[in-house]
C-alpha cells in the first residue's frame, strides 16, 4: 500500500510538471499570436492569418491537457456540464471521468447510442445542405465568397457525418482529441503553399495586346 501511495504521489508530481509545461507552451503560443497581431500593420494577409490559425491551434492543443485535468479535479467552472450530466449520459461519454472504475469490464460490450430516427434526421440535413450547394452553383457571386460558403457547408456536413454516422460524438474525449486536432493542424499546414501559388499567377507572362493569329494557333496546338 505504501509503495502504491508513493507511486501515486510520483504520478501526481509528474502530472503537475506536465501541466505546467503545457500551460506555459499554450500561453507562449497565444502571446506570439497576439504579438503578431499587434506588430503587423495589415493583419488580413495570408501569412498573418496562417500564423494566427496555427498559433491558436497549437495553443488549444497544449491547453487541452491542463484544462481536462482541472475539469477532472472539479476546479474548472463549466456552465453547461452540470446540465448535461443528469440526462442519462454516462460520464464516460463526456470524457475522462470515471476512469478507474470500469477497467475490469470486458471490452466487447456493445455500446451504441443514437436511434434510427436521429440518423434519418441527420441524413435529411445532409441532403438539404447538398441541395443548397447545388443551388449556390447557379447564383452569380464572386468565386471567393462561393468558395467560403461551399467550404463552410462542407465542413458542417463532414462534422455531422463524423459526429453521428461515424459515432465519434459518442466516443471518449481522449479519442476525439487524438484524432481531430492534429489532422486539422496538418491540413492547415498545407496552406503554406498558397502564397507561392498566387505568386506564380503573377509571374505568368501577360499578353497585354491580343496575340498575333499564328502565335495563338501554336498555343492551341500545344494544348
Amino acid at each position: 500500500m505504501d509503495h502504491q501511495a508513493s507511486q501515486q504521489s510520483g504520478m501526481k508530481k509528474e502530472a503537475t510538471v506536465l501541466n505546467v509545461i503545457c500551460t506555459v507552451g499554450a500561453i507562449a503560443f497565444l502571446a506570439f499570436a497576439a504579438f503578431n497581431a499587434i506588430t503587423s500593420g495589415d493583419f488580413f494577409t495570408t501569412d498573418n492569418l496562417f500564423l494566427t490559425v496555427i498559433c491558436l491551434l497549437f495553443a488549444l492543443v497544449l491547453a487541452v491537457g491542463p484544462l481536462l485535468y482541472l475539469k477532472d479535479a472539479g476546479k474548472l467552472p463549466l456552465p453547461f456540464m452540470k446540465k448535461a450530466l443528469p440526462e442519462g449520459s454516462s460520464p464516460e461519454q463526456l470524457g475522462t471521468g470515471s476512469v478507474a472504475i470500469e477497467h475490469d469490464e470486458p471490452v466487447e460490450e456493445v455500446h451504441f447510442s443514437g436511434t434510427n430516427k436521429l440518423f434519418s434526421f441527420i441524413w435529411l440535413w445532409l441532403l438539404v445542405l447538398t441541395a443548397i450547394e447545388i443551388i449556390l452553383a447557379y447564383k452569380p457571386m464572386s468565386i471567393h465568397l462561393m468558395l467560403t460558403i461551399l467550404l463552410g457547408l462542407s465542413i458542417i456536413k463532414a462534422a455531422l457525418i463524423i459526429a453521428y454516422f461515424m459515432h465519434l460524438k459518442f466516443e471518449r474525449l481522449s479519442l476525439i482529441l487524438t484524432v481531430v486536432p492534429m489532422l486539422v493542424i496538418c491540413i492547415c499546414l498545407l496552406f503554406v503553399f498558397f502564397p507561392d501559388s498566387f505568386r506564380s499567377l503573377g509571374l505568368r507572362y501577360k499578353f497585354n495586346e491580343p496575340p498575333p493569329v499564328e502565335v495563338k494557333k501554336t498555343a492551341d496546338e500545344d494544348q
Binding site: A73, V99, T130
Partner: protein
C-alpha cells in the same frame, strides 16, 4: 470514489498498460488512424488542385446536364448508402445480424450505383475529348482569356486523379463490405462498426470532392454548348 481521488488515479490507471485508454478495441483505433492518414492523402490532392487552380486560368466546363445532374444523383446515392450503413450497424448492435446483412447489401448496391453513374459521367467527359493532360479543343477556345492566356491543361489531371482515387475507395469499400456481409454471422459487432467507419469516411471525402471539383466548375453561361 471522490473526484479528487479519481483525478489522481487517472494518469496512472489509464496509461500503465492492461487497459484500453481510448475505450475502443485496437482494430477500431487502427481504422481511425488509417482514416486520419487517408484523409491527409485526399487533403494533399485537393490542396494540389487548389494550388493549380489559383495559379492558372482554370476552365469551368461542367454543364447542368449531364455533369451536375449526375454528380448530384451520385451524392444522393452515397449519402443514402451512409444511412443504410448506419442502419446496418445499429441492427448489428441490437444483435440482429440478418438485418445487418440486408442493410449492408443495400449499402453495397448504392455504392455500386455511385460507381456506375460515375463511370458514365467519366465517359461523357472522355468522349468530349478530355484527357489527363489535354483539354478538348473547343474548351480551349472558349476559356482562353481576353488577353490570350489559355486555360490550364491540368484540369483533366486533377479531375481524373481525385475522382478516380475516390472511386477506387468506393470500389474497395464495396469489396470490403461484401466480405463483411458474407461473414456477418461470424464477425463481432465492433468489426461491422469498423467497416461502417470506412464507408462513412468514403462518403465524407465526397462531401469535399463534390463542391470543390463539380460545384466550383459549373459552366453557368453555357459556354461549352
Amino acid at each position: 470514489m471522490s473526484t479528487e481521488a479519481r483525478a489522481e488515479s487517472f494518469a496512472a490507471a489509464d496509461w500503465d498498460g492492461g487497459t484500453l485508454p481510448y475505450r475502443v478495441g485496437h482494430r477500431k483505433l487502427g481504422m481511425w488512424l488509417f482514416i486520419v492518414s487517408d484523409s491527409l492523402t485526399f487533403s494533399a490532392l485537393l490542396m494540389g488542385y487548389a494550388y493549380l487552380r489559383a495559379s492558372n486560368v482554370w476552365p469551368t466546363p461542367f454543364p447542368f446536364y449531364p455533369s451536375i445532374v449526375f454528380s448530384s444523383v451520385m451524392t444522393f446515392c452515397l449519402l443514402s448508402s451512409s444511412l443504410t450503413m448506419v442502419f446496418g450497424v445499429s441492427a448489428s448492435a441490437r444483435g440482429d445480424k440478418a438485418g445487418a446483412r440486408k442493410w449492408i447489401i443495400a449499402t453495397i448496391l448504392l455504392g455500386l450505383a455511385f460507381v456506375v453513374l460515375h463511370m458514365i459521367e467519366w465517359n461523357h467527359l472522355i468522349s468530349e475529348g478530355l484527357r489527363p493532360f489535354f483539354l478538348p479543343e473547343h474548351w480551349v477556345k472558349v476559356f482562353t482569356t481576353t488577353d490570350g492566356t489559355p486555360p490550364s491543361p491540368l484540369f483533366g489531371a486533377t479531375f481524373f486523379a481525385i475522382t478516380g482515387l475516390h472511386m477506387f475507395h468506393v470500389l474497395t469499400g464495396a469489396l470490403y463490405l461484401s466480405v463483411v456481409a458474407a461473414r456477418v454471422k461470424k464477425l463481432k459487432h465492433e468489426d461491422i462498426e469498423i467497416s461502417g467507419l470506412y464507408w462513412h469516411f468514403v462518403d465524407l471525402v465526397w462531401m469535399f470532392v463534390f463542391p470543390l471539383i463539380y460545384i466550383m466548375s459549373v459552366d453557368v453561361q453555357g459556354l461549352t454548348k
